[in-house]
């Protein structure tokens, strides 16, 4: 137990350090972008958060696969927690992306921003994940169904992305073009630090959340044993 505790503390410390350093560097040290000016700095939070959300869903799908493979029930909790984190980071992606759209093009939403559209589809998909979980009694059935659904989710990511690219040709002509940030060396460094920070944040929150849920489960067992 103490080993697990140490890991949680270490992760939290690492996340804090990386996050503070990353955001400070992003706001103060990173060079100003030639084309977009100060507003380009939002990129240092938006993209790392988006990538972390993908990592969360991927991690959740991996745990789901382990569940179906080994039938050990602990993977259900781990998969669920990862998907839960993924949705939180997903919401953050949509919000920061919306702010980016407002800065860049003056609108709070645009369908021509592929990442945003993809995240909207995924957000809907994983919200349905929660509806699925809440409508089934706890047990191996719920664990199996959630796991299969989480696997479908990661299959959906590339397929949806492809679909959105194809859809652009007939739904909305790409009005808003944006060059992918041509990153200089120092920009890339700051980006990597921020990415590491977000991933560390995910790892830290994930560990805490998981511990909390496991405690919940054990307390329930204890209560049943004592009553």
């Amino acid at each position: 137990m103490s080993l697990r505790n140490n890991r949680a503390v270490l992760l939290a410390a690492a996340a804090s350090v990386l996050l503070v350093a990353g955001l400070a560097l992003a706001l103060l040290w990173a060079p100003e972008d030639a084309d977009q000016g100060f507003s380009q700095r939002i990129f240092y939070v938006h993209v790392p958060i988006a990538l972390t959300a993908y990592a969360c869903f991927g991690w959740g799908a991996w745990k789901a696969l382990r569940l179906l493979w080994t039938r050990e029930s602990r993977y259900d909790l781990e998969s669920y927690t990862a998907v839960h984190m993924g949705v939180i980071f997903g919401i953050l992606t949509l919000v920061t992306g919306s702010i980016w759209a407002k800065i860049s093009w003056g609108v709070w939403w645009t369908w021509s921003e592929r990442q945003l559209t993809l995240f909207l589809v995924l957000f809907l998909f994983y919200c349905a994940y929660f509806m699925l979980r809440f409508s089934i009694e706890a047990g191996p059935r719920r664990a199996n169904l959630s796991a299969v659904y989480a696997l479908f989710g990661v299959a959906l990511i590339p397929v949806s992305f492809l679909a959105i690219r194809l859809a652009e040709n007939f739904i909305h002509p790409v009005v808003f073009t944006r060059d992918g940030p041509q990153m200089s060396g120092s920009m890339f460094l700051v980006f990597c630090i921020c990415l590491g920070a977000m991933l560390a944040l995910f790892a830290s929150l994930y560990t805490n959340e998981l511990t909390g849920k496991r405690l919940d489960a054990r307390l329930r067992e204890l209560r049943e044993a004592l009553e």
Partner: protein
Amino acid sequence: MTYFADVAALARKDILLELRSRDTLPAMLLFVVSALVVFHFSLPSDASATASTGLLWIALLFTALLGLARAFSAEREQRVLDGLVLAPCDRSAIWLAKSLGVLAFLGVAEVVALPAYGLFFEPVGWELVAAVVLADLGLAAVGTLLAAMAAASRARELLLPLLFLPLVIPVVVGGVGATVADDPGRYLGFLALYDVIFAILSWASFEYVVAE
């Protein structure tokens, strides 16, 4: 080859049940035609071909949902699903049989829907037919699995559309694209890709969905 014999037997059972009770298929046919009529009134008079194509695909999606909602209802009502699962056949055979049944019903619905669409809106080209065929495969594959999931939950009819719609967005893109774009081949290829990926995934994971 008992696998395919099982599949054939199960599929035959579903189709025979439907032919005798005649509840799902007429509902689907009536629904799709009514939906098309509603769309006529909801579209502005200068609506483009793309708009009416889009609405056709929406009509097809919801008709599929209607059919899928009933896919496992018969089993549930008589607790036959437990019996099926205990039967000495590969669980994925159940999925395949159900999907074929759903595919058959969708096909019949479209035999009515496409001419109706051609009558009310735009003439129907070969790309639309090809797209519909490919889309049906994907919808049946994914829908059957999701219907089994929804059948296991308390929320059932409420849950199936929520699970279904996000997953079939790519099908809508492929279908509409194949109909209106200059190069339908790309979209038809995409639909085929979707079918392959999700059919394999559904086939492989079905046994975990119905297991206890």
